[in-house]
């Protein structure tokens, strides 16, 4: 057994890799099912497309115990501040998957009622296409998120919501430059 076989085991792993490995394999989604995509999200949670293989066993109801918010469905104007509130109440580190075209860009409902893309409200990590995305697409989005966690920086603050103590409230979050992470096809 040559030295190169020792490359990826516990003894020689760097702390940051270990933390990222731990985070990646225990991402708990918050139940944020809005519309049709929520049904497909539940189907992904059920027996046939089981996401507990990826460590996402439990859909935590309260944002305090959730790491990932899957925005599954169309976000209406009335729901946007609620979405923002739940996102703020989630613990760091937190990620967002915008599931379905309605969440990503407003989809086929380009009208007064739907927020045209949930990235106007919360910073999004992975966009899953489809209407609704088939469970395989959502699984691929989750694996892409794992890849992003694996290659992303560990201590980068997600979106520092600006305190209202600083006088007028900014547009909710300080837009950081979206990092054009060239995400390799997850192995």
């Amino acid at each position: 057994m040559g030295l190169e076989d020792l490359q990826h085991n516990f003894l020689t792993g760097r702390l940051e890799d270990l933390v990222k490995w731990a985070r990646r394999n225990s991402v708990w989604p918050a139940t944020f099912g809005l519309a049709c995509c929520a049904i497909e999200m539940m189907a992904v949670g059920a027996a046939d497309f089981d996401i507990s293989r990826l460590g996402m066993e439990v859909f935590r109801a309260s944002p305090r115990q959730a790491d990932l918010m899957i925005v599954a469905g169309r976000v209406s104007q009335k729901m946007a501040p609620v979405l923002r509130q739940v996102y703020d109440q989630m613990m760091e580190p937190k990620w967002v998957i915008s599931m379905g075209v309605c969440a990503s860009t407003g989809g086929m409902f380009n009208n007064y009622a739907i927020v045209q893309g949930v990235d106007q409200v919360v910073p999004v990590d992975v966009y899953a296409p489809g209407c609704p995305p088939s469970p395989e697409t959502l699984l691929h989005a989750i694996l892409t998120l794992h890849e992003k966690i694996r290659t992303g920086a560990i201590t980068r603050r997600r979106a520092r919501p600006v305190d209202d103590s600083e006088g007028e409230r900014l547009a909710g979050w300080v837009a950081e430059a979206p990092d054009a992470v060239r995400v390799a096809t997850p192995r």
Binding site: K78, N110, Y112, A113
Partner: protein
């Protein structure tokens, strides 16, 4: 019940199905249509309820701003809005539609809540999306739109609110 009301109901009901010149669907989905004037709307619905229409299945409104030329039976002057109440008789498996014209300036109609408590949310939705007020409604507030939303979206003069998208009508990529 005052004397004129049953006559009004009878007059419309007696016409069998609705007056012939009103274009309607054929076949299985034909149903009787009543066109009461606004002040006799509540009486007509009351007389229908008395004659066995136990359930109000649907109440909605239509904004005829851009389609004034619709055909209506004689003696019914078209208003801008039209409140459509759908009554259902469980005992005799029949439906009847009551279409009442509502002018634009004072868009107010009597509520059906005291006859059919189920009308409460439907009327709130019509108020929310069309701005037609219902007299005697217990809690006439918005139901679908956020509370601080101005305007009534389903009116024909309310824009769709499209965000211009790249390949349809917007200038080049941003």
């Amino acid at each position: 019940m005052t004397d004129p009301a049953p006559r009004a109901a009878a007059e419309h009901a007696a016409a069998g199905s609705s007056p012939p010149e009103v274009p309607r669907a054929q076949g299985r989905w034909t149903s009787e249509i009543g066109f009461p004037p606004r002040d006799r709307y509540h009486e007509l619905v009351e007389s229908y309820k008395a004659s066995g229409f136990e359930q109000l299945s649907d109440l909605t409104a239509v904004d005829y701003l851009t389609h004034p030329g619709r055909t209506l039976p004689a003696g019914v002057e078209p208003g801008r809005f039209e409140v459509v109440a759908n009554l259902l008789s469980l005992s005799s498996s029949r439906r009847v539609r009551v279409r009442v014209q509502v002018p634009e300036d004072d868009a107010v109609v009597d509520t059906l809540w005291d006859l059919y408590p189920g009308a409460e949310a439907m009327e709130r939705e019509v108020f929310d999306l069309f701005g037609i007020r219902f007299l005697g409604h217990p809690d006439l507030t918005r139901i679908l739109m956020p509370e601080d939303w101005e305007g009534h979206p389903l009116r024909k003069d309310y824009g769709v609110g499209r965000v211009p998208v790249q390949f349809k009508e917007a200038p080049g990529p941003r």
